[in-house]
């Protein structure tokens, strides 16, 4: 006899624990109040539930649909359209190597291959300790700093295979890592909260990294008659770099 399974519809997702739900509802009300129409809050709210669980779970989708009075199908359709929403639990640090054409040619492909071998994981896979998720990313608007690696969407400019390996080693070892431009790294969940529209409250976070990065100043320096000191930065751990040797901050 052939058994044909029509499939039992999945049971509704469990809700967040009451205290978590209450906290998230307070945040959600603040997000919704920024928009003339509540549905506009959906993208930030998906970032918000991601800040709670590190990915968009069925529970997170249910929460968004509840507070916005949408169906879970409507929320799922949106959550699956955008690449920044993770569909499964992933690492504390998302290491994205730009492999769009310019970065790939400038060394992004080599960096990605090196990290894949070094970490023993493939694209969109996480190390066994749950620390690092490796990912191909698309152009991140920093082509004058190529090749670029993003960790939790902070810039690590002018990378090499060596600097990138050291970067992930530091992340895994729990050493402090500073981006080339921007604030000291926070975890993926903390980053997601900023993306939901809640400003980074850490002391000095806005100031960290200083003004424009070196490449951004190329024309201005020339205009001022300042002699450019060198050619293309050859290594990430370049002591001349305004942000310092990016992968050695934690040791200094």
């Amino acid at each position: 006899m052939t058994e044909v399974s029509l499939g039992i519809p999945e049971m509704p997702a469990p809700d967040f624990p009451a205290d978590v739900r209450a906290r998230l509802e307070t945040d959600a009300r603040e997000v919704i109040a920024r928009y003339p129409d509540s549905r506009s809050a959906l993208l930030p709210l998906l970032h918000l539930v991601q800040s709670e669980e590190g990915y968009v779970s069925r529970t997170g989708i249910r929460f968004c649909s509840d507070v916005l009075d949408l169906t879970t199908a409507e929320v799922t359709a949106v959550a699956t359209f955008y690449t920044m929403y993770r569909r499964k639990p992933s690492g504390d640090y998302q290491v994205g190597v730009c492999t769009n054409t310019l970065c790939a040619v400038m060394g992004g492909d080599a960096i990605f291959d090196e990290l894949r071998g070094h970490l023993g994981v493939g694209n969109d896979e996480t190390t066994a300790d749950g620390k690092v998720t490796l990912e191909h990313i698309e152009c991140n608007a920093a082509c004058d700093f190529a090749p670029v690696v993003m960790v939790n969407w902070e810039f690590f400019d002018n990378q090499t295979p060596e600097s990138a390996k050291k970067l992930v080693d530091d992340l895994i070892a729990g050493r402090e890592v500073r981006p080339t431009r921007g604030a000291p790294l926070c975890t993926y969940k903390e980053t997601a909260r900023i993306l939901a529209g809640f400003p980074d409250e850490r002391e000095g976070a806005v100031e960290a990294g200083g003004s424009a990065g070196p490449a951004s100043l190329a024309g201005l320096r020339l205009h001022r008659g300042e002699t450019p000191g060198r050619t293309v930065p050859q290594q990430a751990s370049d002591p001349d770099h305004q942000g310092g040797p990016v992968t050695e901050e934690g040791e200094g």
Binding site: P36, W153, R181, I194, G219
Partner: protein, 444 residues
């Protein structure tokens, strides 16, 4: 080779104080004439502000080059509906990297421009749609908006004018298509970012079906300087049809990649001359004038004036002025394959030519790059690109076709070589930033 005085060509305006220790703060911005234009604008009737920006000749810096003042003028007035300004800060076009450093180093130029624009179009709510993948910029935008509220440049009764304005900073979630203005609006409404059929245009039915202006970051950020220093000053730069200053982004195998702010109409040769040329020992092979969606150029095009008309006449588009320069170590088939994979990945799936066409382009390109291509594949590539170009719902499809057409036009022999020798003749290691590190030289 160096130019005698490159400073005569460059005109830092938006980038003028990016090296100030705290360039992103309100305090620094005010020291550099910040918010002076706002006072002038608020003293003018809104229609006069629109006319002024229109007369300046400012054209959209996001790629299409549509006159900014004209976009504002299309907003119907007295219609009783809310009006919205949406700033497109979704900068994601491969190669494009001007708005992100601008917002990181000088976010108040955008905030001031927004207030002026909203005064002009009678909008009380503006949105900044920032791509999500740039958290350092998001931090500074949050802070700049907070500072502007605290200083009375946003909120109720701005500077005693009776004008109210709120700004919402909105982080996207990773979708190139949201740079297309109608897809951006759908995304901002909490939907999948898919483009809308036009008409109706956003000026009539945009965000929440209300009149909406969607402008690029650099366009809006340029407005305060125009209002403050005068449209005549603005028109002293560039040409009659392409006046003003702009940010050129030099990247790739050049000696000094970076942002170069200057008048429209500058040439790549001039930019390379002042920027130290290509990396030592190499020569330019191909480049994009304004991101990967603009047909590529070669070293024949070094003297094309980089303005809307000049680049258009040479067969490409000014786009975002993202000058990605590749030297002779770069395989053009590899470059185009990667761009094509990008378009296939980012195609939203709404229309068939783009969704299916980009998929098949990737299959063909990968085969050719891997040495498994057949001679007839080249015509097939061209044919598929032709079936996407101009036949897709939005410009993403045209963008996907551009690298195919232009690379086949200039480098067909290189494609054929891949097919004939059944493999790629290039060594990717030679293209990397560190390939020549043993012979890095300092250019004095």
């Amino acid at each position: 080779m160096t130019v005698e005085s490159p400073e005569k060509l460059l005109v830092p305006v938006l980038s003028a104080f990016w090296d100030d220790p705290k360039s992103w703060t309100l305090e620094t911005y005010r020291r550099h004439e910040g918010y002076q234009a706002l006072h002038k604008a608020l003293a003018m009737p809104p229609d006069d502000v629109i006319a002024y920006v229109k007369d300046s000749g400012l054209r959209g810096r996001g790629g299409a080059g549509f006159p900014t003042g004209m976009k504002w003028q299309f907003i119907p007035q007295g219609d009783g509906k809310p009006h919205y300004l949406v700033v497109n800060a979704d900068e994601s076009e491969p190669g494009t990297c001007k708005d992100i450093p601008l917002l990181y180093a000088n976010p108040h130029s955008l905030i001031e421009g927004i207030v002026i624009a909203c005064w002009a179009i009678r909008s009380n709510h503006a949105f900044i749609y920032l791509r999500g993948e740039v958290v350092p910029v998001l931090r500074r935008l949050h802070e700049a908006v907070r500072e502007a509220y605290a200083a009375g440049y946003l909120g109720r009764n701005i500077q005693g004018s009776g004008f109210d304005l709120d700004i919402t900073v909105h982080a996207g979630a990773g979708a190139y298509i949201c740079g297309e203005e109608t897809a951006l609006l759908d995304s901002l409404e909490g939907r999948r970012g898919q483009p809308r059929l036009r008409p109706p245009f956003p000026a009539v039915e945009g965000l929440y079906a209300c009149p909406t202006v969607v402008n690029n970051v650099e366009s809006i950020a340029s407005v305060p300087a125009i209002v403050n220093r005068g449209k005549e000053w603005f028109r002293t730069m560039g040409s009659e049809k392409s006046p003003g200053f702009t940010l050129y982004s030099l990247s790739g195998h050049v000696a000094r990649p970076g942002q170069y702010e200057g008048p429209l109409g500058i040439t790549l040769r001039q930019l390379l001359d002042m920027g130290g040329g290509m990396r030592p020992g190499h020569r330019l092979k191909f480049w994009t004038p304004g991101g990967s969606s603009t047909p590529m150029f070669t070293d024949e095009h070094l003297d094309v004036p980089l303005d809307y008309e000049g680049v258009g006449a040479a067969g490409s588009m000014l786009g975002t002025k993202a000058l990605q320069c590749f030297d002779e170590t770069t395989c053009v088939v590899r470059a185009v394959t990667r761009w094509t994979e990008f378009y296939a990945h980012e195609s939203c799936g709404k229309c068939t030519p783009c969704r299916e066409g980009t998929y098949w382009l990737v299959q063909l390109m990968r085969d050719i790059e891997a040495g498994k291509g057949r001679p007839e594949d080249l015509d097939k590539l061209n044919d598929i690109a032709d079936n996407i170009n101009g036949k897709s719902f939005c410009a993403l499809g045209d963008g996907a076709a551009a690298p195919i057409f232009s690379s086949l036009k200039y480098f067909r022999a290189e494609y054929e070589e891949h097919i004939e020798r059944q493999g790629c003749p290039f060594d990717p290691a030679r293209s990397t930033a560190w390939a020549d590190s043993s012979r890095t030289e300092v250019i004095a």
